[in-house]
Every structure is written in structure tokens, then in C-alpha cells.
Symmetry: C2
Subunit: 150 residues, 2 copies
């Protein structure tokens, strides 16, 4: 058994025995005001279940990869870019990030955005957009206005 | 892409494009007042993410299996049996069901219990307790009082 049977939720999306970590270990990767908590990490599950929280005005890294994400919003408000789709999200909405889709999650300016994310335990590293990819993304005016790259 | 990028949550834990299904397909398996919704079922994820809802007074089947469960409570109140542990659960609590642990989820009498459950996409079939297993479980008075077998 790699986890206790029950871990209680404290207030504000913290859990007993679960550390609040930096969103990314990497230096120089652009994002703002995001934390990460690994809720389940049993190799038998073949997936990890993580909780991410973006503070008001913050955003995750714009990136893509082979592995997919299955996301359930838990609280707050925000917007997401998934491929060429930009959508508003609210509690309990489902977000699917398919393979190789550029994606970024942003919290609204006046609200945090907290979400669960299921991902393969073994997975490829994310790719950041190079100058050509940024130029291509910016040919879409809505995407150009949405993305945060610093 | 096997799912749309965003599926909105309607009220009361229903989602656009997600069918509310019977908890079990099998005939004669004991449970009461439970529905199942499959939220993500992409083979690339190697896991399914399901939402189960137990109506007030209802309960899932007492069972065990090789595969594990990673659960996040979403709303309502209830109690769970995981191996020899009985615990109260409330929104956002984490429940881990290890391999071969007898487990049952019960909603309180005055509240539903809704929870997300991550599980291997390919998995073994659940085992129900035979008379010997029931007798063994009932040697623990708290478990004897908890379990529902009809």
C-alpha cells in the first residue's frame, strides 16, 4: 500500500500529508503563480493524479507533449487554450488535452483556478514553443491575445 | 482526439455528452442507488476517470480486486470501508483502495455521496465475498455493523 486509505481535505485545497510544491522544477520555464500537489502516485495505477492551483492572474506554461491530460476543474474561474480552442472554465468542467496540442491554463484576474489532472505515470517531457511556433500561434488573433509567454 | 477539449458541467453533477449509467452491468450484484458516469476513457491515458454518485442511504458493492482505486470526494457526505479502516468522508477528501482490500462506500442517510475514481483502463473483475469471507469480516464488530450485503 503506497497511500493511507483516507487523507482528509483541510480548508483551501490542502490535504494532510500532501506537500505543496513548485509547479515546475525547471529553471527559466515561463509560468506565473502556480502550485502543484501530487495526490496519488502509485505505479500500479499507471497514472498520477495531481492538483494544480493558479492564483488570480496567473497561468501555466504554454507547452505541448505526446502524453494527454484529463482535467476536472475543482474551484475558481479561468480560461484554457487547448489546440485552437479557447474556453471559459468553472467548477467541475472537464478539460481534455490531446497529444501534441498546445495548451495553457489561466486563472481569471479576480479568482484562482484549481483543478485535478490525471496523467500517465511515465511520460515524455513537455516541449516549449520556439520562435516559429509562437509566430504560427499568433496568426490566430484570439490565441495571440490569450497566450502568456513570459 | 477521443474527447472534446471542454465539456461543461451542468448542475448537479451532470456533464454535456456524458451518459448517466447503471453502476453495474451484472445481475444480482448487491448495491443500492448508485449511478456511474465515465468522464474520460482514452486508451492513451491508460486509466479511466469515472464519477459515481450514491443517493442518500445507498451503497456500492462490497468487493475487492487486484486493481487499485484513487478517489476524490466531490460532494455530499458518507462513510467508507477500506480493508479494516472505516472513515467518514466529505468533499475533496482522498480515498485510496489498495489491491485486494475489501471496500464499500456508503452515503449518509440524509446526503448523497459523489466522487471521482481513477482506475486502470484494463483491469481484473471484482470479487464478491463468499460466506467464509463474510464470516471473517464479521469478526470485527465495526465492520459487521457497517457492511451492506443485499
Amino acid at each position: 500500500m503506497s497511500e493511507p486509505p483516507v487523507r482528509k481535505h483541510d480548508s483551501d485545497f490542502h490535504w494532510e500529508g500532501v506537500a505543496v510544491r513548485a509547479y515546475k522544477q525547471d529553471v527559466g520555464v515561463p509560468y506565473r503563480d502556480v502550485t502543484r500537489q501530487v495526490l496519488f502516485d502509485d505505479p500500479a495505477l499507471r497514472c498520477q493524479l495531481r492538483y494544480f492551483e493558479i492564483a488570480p492572474g496567473g497561468y501555466t506554461t504554454l507547452e505541448r507533449h505526446q502524453h494527454v491530460h484529463a482535467v476536472v476543474i475543482q474551484h475558481g474561474r479561468g480560461r484554457v487554450l487547448i489546440g485552437s480552442t479557447i474556453a471559459e472554465v468553472a467548477p467541475f468542467d472537464l478539460v481534455y488535452v490531446p497529444a501534441h496540442a498546445w495548451h495553457q491554463f489561466r486563472a481569471n484576474g479576480d479568482a484562482p483556478l484549481g483543478f485535478l489532472c490525471v496523467v500517465n505515470h511515465d511520460r515524455d517531457r513537455p516541449e516549449l514553443p520556439d520562435a516559429d511556433a509562437v509566430a504560427q500561434l499568433r496568426t490566430n488573433a484570439a490565441i495571440a491575445a490569450f497566450v502568456r509567454l513570459e
